[in-house]
Symmetry: C2
Subunit: 144 residues, 2 copies
Amino acid sequence: MKLSKKSEYGLRALLEFTLVHGKGTLQRHQIATRQHIPVEFLEQILLALKRAGLLSSRRGMKGGYALIKSPGEITLGQVIRILDGPLAPIGCVSKTAYQKCRDCPYAEHAQCPVQHVMGSVRDAIAGILDHYTLDDFASGHRKG
Amino acid sequence: MKLSKKSEYGLRALLEFTLVHGKGTLQRHQIATRQHIPVEFLEQILLALKRAGLLSSRRGMKGGYALIKSPGEITLGQVIRILDGPLAPIGCVSKTAYQKCRDCPYAEHAQCPVQHVMGSVRDAIAGILDHYTLDDFASGHRKG
DNA sequence: GCAAATCTTGACTGACTCACTCGGAATTAT
DNA sequence: ATAATTCCGAGTGAGTCAGTCAAGATTTGC
């Protein structure tokens, strides 16, 4: 039930991109100083987001990163799945990364009580995070 | 965003107590074999639940553990907080174990976007888990 | 009283994850 | 060429997870 620093930093970094969207690129150190994130750790995160198709980048002088999609198309759920893995509290209720639960005395899919309640927890979490875009995120910021 | 084995085993153990509620006590090895839980690990869990006031115990032959409260009074939220700590995905939105977030560039309580969205995630999780009792848990089991 | 069964306590462990950190290679602008 | 940047892989120290183990305390049955 915990958000890693990696995801938290990733979200805060993407917030910076949202705030400057349309106005060019950002470099690691800019994001790092604005958001107080260790720069080498931030790097890993930006790279992961790039590999996942959310960011583009250019090397060398005047290089940097930029958002590929518009902030309204990117949800926090996507970002957290990229950086932290599945949202579900337990593998056997994940929709994006289902895993059969081993050593559970209950049948495959049927009537496991843990599975039942954790399924609704997963749906509640995903219901929020998969409908919350970076735009919402940034305006939650501005409005407070 | 993950439920530990400790909590999962704890919930499955309490399910056994719920099923036999009113009919005496259960011993470690009974629960362990019925729920496929390593017995020494289960022991730690039962002890923690005892210290937290959910179970009573008696030593020696014919000993065992028993529920103190009725299953309708115990919520999954309580149990998971005992075994896994706070439900909130991040310390600064926990209601039972608030912790000021360090190195966050946003002011103490105000307009941090991460805090904002994670606050609603916390409320969604707690909204389910703090209203789901062991009775609900067991009937989810019976009904499927 | 003695042995057996049970809970109780505390320490220990191996594997793994988290949050970084570092070194160096590749690319681009001046 | 040089400086600035991204890219990539590996390393690391602290901590957590999921158990395991050994020894002690308490109760029951004989």
